[in-house]
Amino acid sequence: MPTASAGFLLFSAAVAIACNLSRHPLWRGWVLLAANLAYLATVSTDPSAFLPFAAFLAIGYAAILASGRRRSGKVLGTLVMALTLGFCWLKKYWFLSGLGFISSPYVTIGLSYIFFRVMHLVIDAQSHREAGRLSFLSYLNYTLNFTALVAGPIQRYEDFLKTPPPIDLCIAGRAAERIVIGLFKVLVVAALLSTVQTQATADLLAHHDGPDRLKSGLVAIAGYPIYLYFNFSGYMDIVIGVARFIGMELPENFNRPFSSVNFIEFWGRYHMTLSNWLRDYVYTPLLRVLMTRFPKPGRDPFLATLAFFVTFFLIGIWHGPTAIFATYGVLLAVGISGDKLYQTALLKLWGRRKYRALAEDPVYRAVCRGLTFTWYAVSMLCFWADSDEASRILGALGPGGIAAVFLLLLVAATAALTVTETLRAAALDAGWKGRPIMLSRYTRTVWSVVLAFLCVSVAMLMHSPAPDIVYKTF
């Protein structure tokens, strides 16, 4: 059931009505479980296809209970290793091919996100009693939550347990607005961008000459991250809005990532729940271990750089089991650790005051914003193209073409993002009686109706359905 579909919205509306019939936690728990299982049942009609999935969930629950009962580094290490291997085996990572994989098709939808949730509970059960004592009903609802199953966000268990304020007209208005914005992003913007980007890739591989080839390369490489952002953040908007009607508050996953002026800031704004998870469970523990092993204070920035490198390499290989995703991880890792090294070097060379002055310079910020986007867009080539396609694209561009596309992308991204930021600031500044017009509920009501109308119109005009959520595959 695609998230940006009438079927999903109707299903969610039915769940929201049922959930709001009573505020008793047990009622809500069982209704949610029924909804989660019903949603899962739409994935496959073959019950045996759910067996590996169910086994992973059961092992995960046993691991959480075990971690809560025996608090020791060894137990935790064993459980983490076992779960990671189990996850990689189910996802058929190449380094486990010697073990043999299940040959019949089985359900893996949302498995990565379930893995993150289970791992968080296993680790937290060592220090938080609450995490180690969760009921099976609560565990199933937390891991299988249909609003966040397909592609996140990765919510922490303690946040999942929180009950947000009861829904009122304002909250309902905001949630509905969020759903409409999400639908517009997925059904209109992402769908159109996908068409443009796919066409540009096809044109590039069709061996056009000179400027046409560069133009196609530029559109193909720059188009994908923008498409992915609208596709993924649109999905998030929909599920956050839907969850609010059901009485849950999902965490935000995006905060205008392309306004970031460096790679570290970018990952604080993009797929935030994944970045935060990795920060808490990979980066911070790893840095702590490194600082304990190499305790010289002057080394801290370099150790942080190394921890960044490892963390972002892991982000890369989390996306897929093939070598191209390892390359993707290396590119992300080089981007973020290079950024960290550059900051460290400038601070050392110029001192804090001079560095801060530079960092606040508008022209410098604009170029940094462009460079951040450019590096991310170039890295993404390993995300959306397989090894063969990536090498054909690079071959079609040639070394000169790659350099030219990089430079053109940098200039275009710097200019476009500067204009976007300026326009956004101007739009938010425009006010009446000291109130920003764009944020007025009246403006937003009109805007939401326009977007909903456009969604319906474009969905009718498009002869093929909008692309499904890209992160569904991870």
């Binding site: 304020p165 009861p166 009122d168 007209l169 304002c170 909250i171 208005g173 905001r174 607005e177 938010l428 109130r435 920003p436 944020l439 007025s440 509920r441 009246y442 937003r444 009501t445 009109v446 939401s448 109706v449 326009v450 109308f453 119109s457 009718m460 005009l461 002869h463």
Partner: protein
């Protein structure tokens, strides 16, 4: 960032007036209960107007009724002699409709049949006339060209069919068709002709049609019908339906849900469709008797409707649905009266997406579909005895 929609202010921050409001308002002033829905409706209204204007610019249409004269007593329409007019539906191209001296949509003159000319008298309604199809692309004109090329004789089609003619009207035109001394009378129908063109009263009183003064104005004043008419006239809605129903599965699913009129796709047929077929049987029998008495062979041509063509090509039908029931039943009726059945459905069913050849909203076959229908007609006439066309040397694309 300030956010007026938020309304998540704690009770302490609410003004005394706001504190008196019910909690479900979430701090919204009561006036917003009216303002916000009105604003949404107003926006929708403006967007609707903008869409209608946009659709009228992008998909223009032109009415074409000045050349057609309706004979309401007998239920048929005729063109005015030598009349020329242009018409266009939003989904199709601009089409010129020109009529000969007898008011038929034919390039050939309608006077006495010249020697060495074989003549086909074509009867029917909009489908037979070639509505929304440029003349040269109509199945009548195509049949005329193919047969002339392959038979070594000049073949002409006198097209008496006209938009708005009922099947009772076709029945009344039989004498006029036979007066043209044709070598074949061809009656062209689509399922919607059976659905709309057989009013029980007209069938019952076919021998004594009422004088025109006894006929009502025909204008229905129900507000619901007026609204439905308005919606039908909306260009934006027409184009929206055009795009939505480009999706074959969605179109077929919603078509099958659209009421009794679609029951000709179900097996067994509904009682109302059985009644229609019984009435048609009666009319065709009397027409065939006249035709046989005049020594003129007669053929019944059927083309499928859009959903029917889609189902025929898809081979996977929902429970209880069978698009071949109606052609089969019509074939049995035709055979009973010695009328040759020409079912073009079989050629449509061979195509992967035959529904694309039929206008989505309008429902009439376009130029491409007319070519297939012409092939079916030629194939049938050439391949069977009983008409002068049998034995013409024509390589059949259908065979």
């Amino acid at each position: 960032m300030r956010d007026e929609f938020d309304g998540l202010r704690t009770p302490l921050q609410l003004s005394p007036q706001e504190r008196r409001q019910p909690a479900w308002l979430g701090g919204l002033p009561r006036r917003d209960l009216y303002i916000l829905p009105l604003l949404a409706l107003g926006t929708l209204f403006l967007l609707g107007i903008a869409s209608e204007l946009g659709a009228r610019i992008l998909a223009p249409a032109q009415e074409r009724m000045s050349c057609l004269v309706a004979n309401r007593a007998f239920g048929f329409s005729h063109g005015r002699p030598h009349c020329v007019e242009t018409g266009k539906i939003p989904e199709g191209p601009k089409v010129v409709y020109s009529y000969n001296a007898c008011g038929y949509r034919s390039a050939a003159p309608c006077g006495p049949k010249p020697p060495d000319t074989w003549r086909i008298a074509l009867l029917g309604a909009s489908f037979g006339e070639g509505y929304v199809v440029p003349y040269e692309e109509t199945f009548g004109a195509r049949t005329e060209r193919i047969l002339t090329r392959g038979c070594g004789h000049k073949v002409e089609v006198q097209n008496l069919a006209a938009y708005g003619t009922s099947l009772v009207g076709v029945y009344h035109e039989m004498d006029e068709a036979l007066s043209l001394k044709p070598d074949l009378v061809l009656i062209a129908i689509m399922p919607f002709d059976l659905e709309e063109g057989l009013p029980p009263d007209q069938v019952r009183m076919r021998h004594t049609p009422p004088p025109p003064s006894d006929l009502g104005s025909g204008i229905q004043r129900s507000p619901i019908l007026a609204l439905a008419k308005m919606a039908k006239a909306s260009r934006a809605l027409t184009m929206a339906r055009h795009f939505i129903f480009s999706d074959r599965d969605l179109y077929v699913r919603s078509y099958l849900l659209s009421g009794e009129n679609t029951d000709f796709l179900r097996d067994p047929l509904s009682p109302s469709w059985e009644r229609r077929l019984a009435d048609f049987d009666l009319l065709l029998g009397e027409m065939a008797a006249k035709s046989h008495a005049a020594g003129v062979p007669m053929a019944l041509l059927m083309a499928p409707q859009r959903a029917q063509a889609a189902l025929m090509a898809s081979k996977h039908w929902p429970q209880g649905v069978n698009p071949w029931v109606l052609p089969r039943r019509l074939g049995q009726i035709a055979a009973r009266h010695g009328v040759r059945m020409i079912d073009s459905s079989e050629l449509f069913a061979r195509l992967p997406h035959p529904e694309t050849l039929i206008y989505t909203v309008d429902g009439h076959p376009g130029g491409g579909a007319s070519a297939i229908i012409a092939n079916a007609v030629v194939d049938s006439l050439v391949g069977h005895d009983g008409t002068p066309f049998a034995g013409c040397k024509i390589a059949s694309p259908a065979r």
